[in-house]
Subunit: 292 residues, 2 copies
Amino acid sequence: LILKELRQITVLGLGLLGASVTLAVSRTLSAVKTVGFSHRASTRATARNLGVAQEIADDIVAAVRTADLVILATPICTFEQTFIQISDYLPDGCIVTDVGSTKGLAHKWAKKNLPSRVQYVGSHPIAGSEQRGVEFARDDLFVGADCILTATKSTDVVAVERLREFWTVLGSRVMVMDPLKHDKLLANISHLPHITAAALLNANNDNDLRMAGKGFIDTSRVASGPANIWTDILITNAENICKSIERLTRELKKLQAAVKNKNEKQIEKLLESARSKRAAMIEHKLKKKDIL
Amino acid sequence: LILKELRQITVLGLGLLGASVTLAVSRTLSAVKTVGFSHRASTRATARNLGVAQEIADDIVAAVRTADLVILATPICTFEQTFIQISDYLPDGCIVTDVGSTKGLAHKWAKKNLPSRVQYVGSHPIAGSEQRGVEFARDDLFVGADCILTATKSTDVVAVERLREFWTVLGSRVMVMDPLKHDKLLANISHLPHITAAALLNANNDNDLRMAGKGFIDTSRVASGPANIWTDILITNAENICKSIERLTRELKKLQAAVKNKNEKQIEKLLESARSKRAAMIEHKLKKKDIL
């Protein structure tokens, strides 16, 4: 097993995701040393108090010097700067990955700034919650979650397989995808719902919202996610997201026209299309046992 | 207690809502005779088999002749025709209501077609589910649900108070509202989320949807509602809904422009506005104990 060669992982950024990685590694790969780093002293202090990693480093260079696997768990916008900061200090053969929700820019920045003696592969564990911060970290956050690895033609296939093994041990179902395909897909199924939920809330006044029922509460749930993390996601996937919003707006206009013209057949056709698309989606999820 | 004078209620239309009314009355007002009618022979047969009412009438006139309270639980589009059909046969002092999700047209049609010797008040019990049909009827469907009564200046205040008592006994929290205000409010908090969810599904292809996560599933949940019932709702509240869609589209355009320009501050401001609006809504709901 390749994982036997793994002696140290280093996580840069100790929020919900980063600290959950170190905790999950401690639980499932007890022989592996876990090192965590945060640029914030207060986060390092909390991380030490909670014992989320065996070692909390005060210095990013010290944190990565002896790592076999370095995982960036900071906002995506910081990746390029971090790559530049650590590139000279990464050991030969080290694998570098990240847990960001968009992947195109990460690959671009890695290619530009990381030395060829280390291998970059993207990771997108689809886990997390509306909560944030090291306090909410859990050693089972990745159990049962999908994890998309992203690789281009120039990505090292052995590094991909090692990372696949790594996330599988943490409990995730791994698939591999091209980063550009990943970003387009996620714009549609993850970033667009977030935008939609936010727009739905912003389109309503607070008095009306007090009367909202279960339907509205569910439809808007994702908009409770942290605004700064989502800003980071939207900015790093701007082009795809603009196209997704365009498609949504077109569908809204179709429904609006049908309602305005009281075109019963057309309204029912559009609603029935949506209903049956969702039924097919749910059926697929049930088959995959994604949902119960 | 005014409810003591209630001897017979008649429900026209035996779907989930209608049959739940007769079942709920049987449970909470056992002295009241429950009569149900459906224009479909197959529904009448099922309703008899399930025993959802003491009497299932084959004839709409026979069903209403001795009723103290007549409740329309058919699609809203059928209300005017039903009012015309029953108007000559309603006993003096009978209260007529309905359980439709839009109220403006119901009031208009009632005023035009019902005799002055009966009193019309609108009811909108905010209950139900994605399920439909007499088979899903439950005697506790209205427990803990909001029920909006709609009344205009010409609505009989005694009839409103009797209906308030009626729905309260069935377990609902009753409030009274002008029908036009009701339709505007519901366009925003109920019909718009439905449109939004449907458009979000229609904007995505089935392959991408297979990869959708919990966020998408929640955001799109309401679109699983029956297309024909929702067509009825949208058509009978067309003007308000078009305005609501317009406002949503404007909010989407704002977000799209901010993302396109990678205007970090503006994106974060819009997302934070949505997040805090939802937080205020949830806080209010928790205080009211609407949600736990």
